[in-house]
Symmetry: C2
Subunit: 768 residues, 2 copies
């Protein structure tokens, strides 16, 4: 039967409310007598607090309390938005306290003010006096790993983890190689810059439990971490997520919730709000890991990879957060793309005194994609092989098992992405255009880069999701999911899934506006591009269960002479019909009324599914780009850029395109613009605001082309694989490859700013 | 095994928050930019609106809109908090519109103002000009049934229903009688006077649905009635009930919700609040039916009833509301108490031009109990039989089927209540005291009255309830019920049930603070004293299901060598134990962690139960009272008063006693103080405020004695039967009987005010 809801563009259910300002975000929810909290942050990058004098701060009118490390819970807790692990060895590092005397980054959290107004709290911050003992600080792994460096966290030697994943035998592999190619590259510290800053408020509830209303991607995980931060049973906390103005991974970390709960605890449970400034979000929440790569691969002359050695050193900043998981993910993504029969992936994650690095859209894959795909481009040139051909020679195939992740990829559409993408991009025509432009003395170039991704975290992390459906009296369906709508549109997609499977129009499926750990089914949250795949499985199972119950009820309440088996019946557009001839068996609304209101029979039909997903699927894709470098200004102008994705079946083409466009935009500025920088003499962030940290505006973004290769994946709930993070993975290497094509020089460290280009061009001129 | 939670006094979970003012009632929930609505009410009791001039009202600064009947939905809808009936013949009368030009009572709803402030709305009300065509109005059924009376609702002859229930043959019965006794009596119009007035606000939600936050006893029914009032699918509405400050049946009617939703619709979905004044609550929401009874019973000389004929005429006021159900219930309550082999119960429910009568604590049973129990007292005197003996001679027995309700009463503890009550009350000693006082010229008397009740509405109404339980990671349990906490403590009792059945401490079961039709399981609400019985069944089933899943999980996650079957295991105080020796099998918290976080196995354990209850149980009990009438002032002083109840097993003795004390207090003032009166020349209520409508204060209430006869009922989920309304049924007749004993005159119409007593004493003096 033809799909009725899946694969159809559907306006998100909250769209009108959001554009008309009627959707309530955390900061919009009014509270009676809300106090306001502010954090006193360290003015040095590394050291110890010798003394804190809050006496003047307490005199500011409206100030209720000033908290120092002695005044709050001192349990160490982890902050990463990972599911809890039953194996203590796999637990996230608990290296964080609510307030600290040990300063590990500029902006570290020393004290907190609670006041009747934000203004009073700010004023009091200015009156807190702190004396420090200052230590040497380290902005890069090179510095913090040097001989005799101070330990940022005691007993760690500043190494969070140092792991090596191996396949085959590297030495043997290198011996087999006809040519060895080395490649170093670097990806910078960047920030998520989600629209809505971190914001939360907390209060003591009527039953004595602690409620935290917060803009988070991970309500259920946040609840658990609150339990850990206060050493209390997790059930004593409740986390509520209203509409969220973006997260991109920055809210897949528990950055402010323990603090705001501690603030409320300090004032007897009154509501306290903590609303970070943009400057704090930049400098003191999470950033994307800067990673440097050293790579050496061995090839046969025909282009076949026989060995690969990658050393990845990841700058994790001052706290472990997601830690090693981000850089560690890279190895498996290399082997998802290419067959490397002898492979060594050596990853180190290192403490420094900058902002803690956590999850950010792509979770290490923008970095490894940058590394491997700039490398493939450089290698192709050295091997004299067309870069597309080099990729095709080495790429993995469908039904193969990933040798590092040990999961079979049932589909692998990179080849289709390249073929269809070249056509859509009019690659051959572009090649001619570029050749002509070059001839005319222009610095014009073409580039491509591929990526591989996953759909969720299994088997590295557990994947749990839940969905509860209720058949309303009018045949409409109330849907409750634990998956977290953070602006990506997941609830809209889940509504489509329910509509498709049960057989009702999408607008008769109602979503919740909040995720509430008290009432929403358990789900680990919005990350790892897991929701349409992992949570979608729970939604599908619940919808199937509800439909089965509907058909059984149709038989139970059948009229005289209406004989059938459930297998003979179906639901379509709110009607129970006979499959054989499509004739009406009963209206769903009439049936629902009977199930509710028959005096003796019938019940409210619900389906309550909790599901562990023990599968994973690999989406693929790539970016094609055509650009020109301005010789005088060093500016890059993108003429054409296409992202093409094998994400299996696309549930909602309109929203999927939006996802891709957003990811491409982030990828473009990752390549060309963004880097969070620090003052080497003070360790202070230099550009932690949206004026100095240049993000592209709509005026700066070129027209974006989006295309999909829809190969249904047999394990995706509706043939779908992930799409949330993938679009962010390949634009940067594709742009770097095109710039290399344009200027004839490989720039391996992003961002490739006009200054960097001009310096390279000047150096090249000198060479000549 | 001994109970751990059932039968234990337990402080209600919301007690501290309520006494410290932290519990949010509807009016406490802050909203951004809330508008305020006010209703323009008729200044005549019966007639038609000829014209409405709102021009001056619109000029009041801050007024947004003024609505007249033409501006709002004109669907007729019912308002009674009954489950929807699949049989149109059994549907509640849909005789109500949101605004009306046809005025049927003083205060009827003609127009509405929406303004930025309450003050502006009030000011605008004063500037609306209405011209009426006035009709004759009727305050009593006698008036509205008279020849040639105008029809308050067209085509009704002012009769809502006129039914007769019969057993045996009345004529034959009367022929068998040795003595015929007649008795007329009257119960007045009274009002619930719940602490919190009707209050609600409504707005258009993000998804275009209409949300009504309201102080209601019946959220799910309210949702349905909103659908009916606007002719829209029910799923398009969402009803949320915060904490409720009492209802006593007045909020088992949908009185203001369609109006407030209409107000929000008129302003594009902005939030609008409607907060009634006490005067409006008294005059324009619901009242208890005034009922007049004409009774004639035939007895054998030995006291056996052989025939009974009752005519009950019920004043339903201007709209049908719960209509006939209230007076109709009386017949079955007579046959629940006494065997009347030949019985006729003729009930009429009549429209008049006073406030519409609806549900009020006891639902017709305070009235019929007053009738039958004052009659039994009078009859006992005429027959020369001790009133207790007369009751015992005629009372029904356990395991008998009620001939009118056709449900078996598995237990019947009236005999035990009388025996245990007489002892507790020290009846024999009181008899001596009263005799001595009488000898000393005092007007002192003793009285008793019994009652029978039901536990829910089955089989007259359907009984549906739902409960969803979730095992939290720490072994605590999140409970979601559709049953409605309105101050009676139901959530506390449900927590005890879950704790008892699953095997955790009560404080590890967490309740919701709101009932929300979007997320709470379906349940018809708080009425008919149904919740511990009907909803308790759903709670018990869900708890049993969750426990079973816990035990299965314990086996699934058993350690090496830990062999068992689920039947060998139990849960006690958060530990899974072996039944055989009580030894620890696994900690519930540890097990819960595994079910959540095992990579491949395990899921979040939930139980989601929707249950149709097809049973009913009959609680019994009575009131003993010892009082003195002041000859000079006519005031009644109660020395001792005891309510004793057969409500099966008492779940929470502390809260049960509170329920009984509250019901007794209402019963005492029903007997002595309360009556809502109308001006016979205008039809305007005379005392619709708490200054003129005299309710007892704590200073006026005597010490109250409460006792229970705990006969476990085999069909009650925990052996329990209902207790909410029963305490309100027997105090009034017991007091009337004691006054009769004291003054030697039967006063058959309540309230027995000092004035009435003085008039009776004066008349008696004249006779002498």
């Amino acid at each position: 039967m033809e799909n009725t809801a899946i694969g159809k563009s559907q306006i998100r259910w909250d769209a009108v409310a959001k554009v008309t300002g009627r959707a309530n975000y955390t900061g919009d929810i009014p509270q009676k007598e809300m106090y306001h909290g502010k954090i006193y942050r360290a003015k040095i990058a590394h050291g110890m607090v010798k003394s804190i004098d809050v006496s003047e701060a307490l005199k500011v009118p409206g100030v209720i309390k000033v908290l120092t490390p002695d005044d709050v819970s001192s349990y160490s807790f982890p902050t990463a938005g990972h599911p809890y692990s039953l194996d203590p060895k796999l637990s996230d590092k608990a290296d964080r306290k609510i307030l600290t005397r040990h300063i590990r980054l500029y902006g570290d959290e020393i004290a907190a003010v609670i006041a009747k107004t934000e203004l009073a709290a700010e004023e009091a911050l200015g009156k807190i006096k702190v004396e420090y003992e200052e230590y040497e600080f380290y902005l890069t792994p090179e510095e913090s790993l040097k001989e005799g460096a101070l330990e940022i966290h005691e007993g760690t030697k500043n190494i969070i983890a140092d792991t090596t994943a191996e396949i085959g035998d590297l030495e043997t592999g290198f011996k087999e190689a006809d040519i060895l190619i080395e490649h170093d590259c670097y990806t910078p510290t960047v920030q998520h810059c989600q629209m809505e800053n971190q914001i939360a408020y907390a209060y003591k509830d009527v039953d004595g439990r602690w409620v935290c209303v917060t803009s988070t991607q991970i309500p259920h995980i946040c609840r658990r971490i609150l339990g850990q931060a206060f050493g209390m049973p997790w059930g004593r906390f409740r986390v509520i997520k209203p509409f969220v103005g973006g997260g991109f991974g920055n809210k897949q970390d528990v950055t402010i919730e323990p603090m705001v709960v501690a603030m409320s605890m300090a004032v007897g449970g009154k509501p306290v709000m903590l609303d970070l400034h943009r400057e704090e979000v930049f400098a003191c929440t999470r950033v994307r890991h800067a990673i440097s790569y050293k790579m050496k691969f061995g090839f046969k002359n025909d282009g076949r990879i026989v060995a690969g050695d990658i050393l990845a050193i990841s700058n994790n900043g001052a706290y472990a957060s997601h830690g090693h998981a981000v850089v560690a993910k890279g190895g498996g993504m290399v082997t998802a793309l290419y067959k490397v029969p002898n492979f060594k992936y050596h990853a180190m994650t290192v403490y420094t005194n900058i902002a803690a690095a956590g999850a950010m859209r792509g979770y290490g894959v923008p970095q490894i994609s940058y590394a491997i795909e700039t490398f493939m481009d450089t290698a192709a040139r050295k091997l004299g092989i067309d870069p597309f051909d080099l990729r095709k020679i080495n790429m993995t195939k469908a039904m193969e098992e990933n040798p590092l992740l040990h999961m079979t990829q049932y589909t692998m559409g990179l080849r289709e992405c390249i073929e269809q993408g070249k056509e859509r991009f009019q690659w051959e025509k572009r090649v001619e255009e570029v050749a002509a432009a070059k001839k005319a003395g222009k610095l014009r170039g073409l580039g491509f880069a591929a990526f591989a991704y996953t759909s969720g975290t299994y088997p590295k992390g557990l994947e749990a999701a839940g969905c509860r459906l209720v058949l309303n009296q009018d045949g409409s369906i109330k849907m409750m999911v634990g998956a977290t709508e953070i602006g990506q549109g997941s609830d809209t997609v889940f509504r489509q899934m329910v509509a498709e499977t049960v057989g009702v129009p999408v607008d008769m499926v109602y979503a919740d506006q909040v995720t509430d750990t008290d009432t929403s089914p358990f789900d680990t949250g919005a990350y790892a591009s897991r929701q349409t795949f992992v949570s979608g499985m729970a939604v599908k199972k619940a919808a199937e269960e509800l439909k089965e119950k509907i058909l059984l009820a149709a038989l139970e309440f059948a009229e005289e002479g209406q004989e059938a088996e459930t297998v003979d019946l179906d639901v379509k557009d709110c009607k129970v019909i006979k499959k054989s001839d499509g004739s009406l068996y009963t209206e769903l609304g009439d049936l629902a009324l009977k199930t509710y209101y028959h005096l003796n029979k019938g019940i409210c039909l619900t389906a309550d599914v909790s599901n562990k997903c023990i599968q994973n699927a690999y989406p693929y894709g790539g970016t094609f780009v055509d650009l020109e470098v301005d010789k005088v200004t060093g500016k890059v102008k993108i003429y054409n850029i296409l992202n093409i994705h094998d994400s299996g079946v696309i549930i909602n083409p309109l929203m999927a395109s939006g996802q891709v466009e957003g990811g491409m935009t982030m990828g473009i500025s990752y390549a060309l613009d963004e880097e969070l920088r620090y003052d080497s003499s003070t360790g202070k962030p230099l550009n932690n605001n949206l004026l100095d940290y240049k993000m592209p505006t709509m005026m700066d973004v070129p027209d974006l082309m989006v295309d999909f290769v829809e190969i249904p994946d047999p394990i995706g709930p509706y043939g779908n694989k992930s799409l949330g993070e993938p679009p962010n993975c390949s634009p940067a290497p594709a742009i770097r490859n095109a710039i290399a094509d344009a200027i004839g020089v490989d720039i391996n460290a992003i961002p490739i700013t006009p200054q960097k280009i001009i310096e390279v061009l000047n150096a090249k001129d000198k060479e000549v």
